[in-house]
Amino acid sequence: MTKYIVRRLLQMIPVIIGSTFLIFAMVFALPGNPLAGKCGERPCPPAFVEKFRADHNLDDPLPIRYVKYLGDLAHGNFGTTFQGLNVLDELQKRYLITVKLAVIALLFEAIIGVLAGVLAGIRKGKFIDNLVLVSTLVVISIPTFVIGSLAQTIFGVKLGWFPVTTPSKPGWYDLLLPGLVLGSLSLAYAARLTRTNLAENLRADYVRTAVAKGLSRPRVIGVHTLRNSLIPVVTFLGADFGGLLGGAIITERIFNIRGVGGYIFQSINSRDGTAVVGAVTMLVIVYLFMNLLVDILYGVLDPRISHD
């Protein structure tokens, strides 16, 4: 197991280097001048331009800039934005909010999604099954910005149950509605995945054995069937959580949340390469670790999978 983890960690190094280089190259290949409009209505004084370009290594060729960037990164320095703000500080502030939002979305998906899937799976073809199938289909078919705006209008503006927008330092409750909106799509998938797997596993031989052992129906389903049925669901939710930790541009925009997604969006718009690369590098690392965690979890849930 340790060997496996070490191997996976080593595999991350080329992935991180490769992905950051690609992002680095792409961001700086974007047309546009970061100095445009920097000094108001008139062009910037040459001395300022020179210093700015030198500070941000803008005159070096791409590979050299990249190597310099990596060197800084190795020392834990994510660089500064064109506004002179420390990227790491900015990310830390925003990341906390993104994590909170992702946790709400994940809990919502896992609890409601799996529950709905189980109910549908054990009553396949009955009313509750059809209800789950139709309602998840509706959720899947409606884009997030529609669901988000609708939820904001109904529950925020009309009913006033939730804040319409979020403050700059949001608490759990402020993020509840955005979290539900963010998790709704994956909830639908999780419910359907649980339903299909459960319904299929209920016909498995070992479930028949469990019935023949004289176990009660709740135990046959809850212990013997559910464990196997949830393995793919856990994998899905884990990968989804990795995605959620990458921020949610649309949901963040609707509810005015200062999370990572919005930060990357802003930084791309202002051609702030250091900020984009810094943020994305972190997201890549988070995603890789989430994947590793999911794979390890998979081995724990399913003893047939060995990581040795």
Binding site: D205, Y206, T209, A210, A212, S216, D302
Partner: protein, 343 residues
């Protein structure tokens, strides 16, 4: 509390009358599918006594496994339906019993072994856990006691290093060892009736013999009623006391094992026996029963076997023969059983 390994007398509300454990009467099972109704079992009667081994023999689709599942109460209903018949265990009809009461008979009273132990054991739990679950759920035993019982049972079915392997998973055992685990689980609560549904079909020949002798040994030690479901005549000969041959959802012949091997009373049984390879007929062509078993949605009128029977007459296509006495302890359902017997 009854212990798992000692073959103690049964101390439950179910007491066999004169050693009679199980009586299946006029059992019918049909499957309602979108293509029509498949009549899998069409009036089956038999009984099982303490310490007796009844073999139910038949081809695929003859209804032998469905019979077992109907007795065990593990048929999926729907699509399955039991329109008539009764399955009495110690005089109590299992089919009309409240489900919760019936559930409690599975394990301590009637137990079952399945064909493919790999798919029949839960892949995500250790084998010891799965055996211990019987004691925890039915006897309310605590975890460590139940595990101790599991180890004892694994030792009883001759699993080497049982103590070390109790926490291993089904996929870490060989096929024969897995079937032993299945057996250990089935006999754990000392049931009065054990149903073995093709227990050796998925195993190779040398292991088959070991498993059969283990089953036989356990049956004699515990005085169980054993229902052995198989299509393998070779397996039956050594273990069974009586044989019921099934065809198209009915028993066509029922007799003591020696009688049936010496002189079958039904052309189908005769055909089955003739299709066993024999050393003294080496070099000759092996005889086989021509044709295929009938489609259970369209069972032919008269005797279901008539399209494949070499002796079929008009009466066979018209009247269905009933299962009647054709000798001491033996019954057959054939218009010409006398002729078959005297052939």
């Amino acid at each position: 509390m009854a212990t798992a390994t000692a073959p103690t007398a049964h101390t439950s509300e179910y007491q066999p009358q004169d050693g009679l454990l199980l009586e299946v009467e006029d059992l019918h099972v049909e499957f309602h599918t979108r293509y029509g109704v498949a009549k899998a079992i069409n009036g089956v009667n038999f009984s099982v006594r303490q310490g007796e081994c009844l073999a139910i023999l038949g081809e695929s689709g003859s209804g032998k496994s469905v019979t077992a599942q109907a007795i065990m109460g593990i048929l999926d209903m729907p699509p399955a339906k039991i329109p008539q018949g009764s399955v009495k265990y110690c005089g109590h009809d299992l089919l009309t019993m409240p489900e919760d009461r019936r559930r409690k008979t599975r394990g301590p009273e009637i137990s079952m072994i399945f064909q493919d132990a790999l798919s029949s054991l839960n892949p995500t739990f250790p084998v010891g856990w799965q055996i211990a679950e019987m004691f925890r759920e039915h006897r309310g035993m605590n975890k460590s006691d139940a595990y101790a019982q599991a180890v004892r049972l694994m030792e009883r079915v001759s699993i080497p290093a049982a103590k070390q392997r109790v926490k291993a998973y089904p996929h870490q055992f060989s096929g024969g060892m897995r079937q032993r685990i299945m057996i250990a689980m089935a006999i754990s609560l000392d049931p009065a009736v054990l149903i073995a549904d093709e227990p050796t079909t998925a195993l190779d020949v040398t292991v088959q013999a070991q498993i059969m002798s283990l089953l036989q040994e356990l049956q004699q030690e515990r005085h169980m009623g054993l229902i052995l479901i198989t299509h393998d005549l070779g397996v039956v000969a050594d273990v069974a006391d009586r044989i019921a041959v099934m065809y198209a959802g009915r028993i066509v012949e029922q007799a003591d094992v020696r009688d049936i091997y010496a002189k079958p009373a039904h052309p189908y049984t005769k055909g089955l026996l003739d299709s066993i390879p024999r050393l003294d007929l080496k070099g000759q062509e092996l005889s086989a029963i021509g044709g295929l078993p009938p489609n259970l949605m369209h069972i032919p009128p008269g005797c279901a076997f008539n399209p494949r029977c070499t002796m079929a007459q008009d009466i066979c296509r018209r009247d269905r023969p009933e299962l009647v006495e054709v000798g001491p302890h033996r019954k057959a359902a054939c218009h010409f059983s006398e002729e078959v017997l005297n052939a």
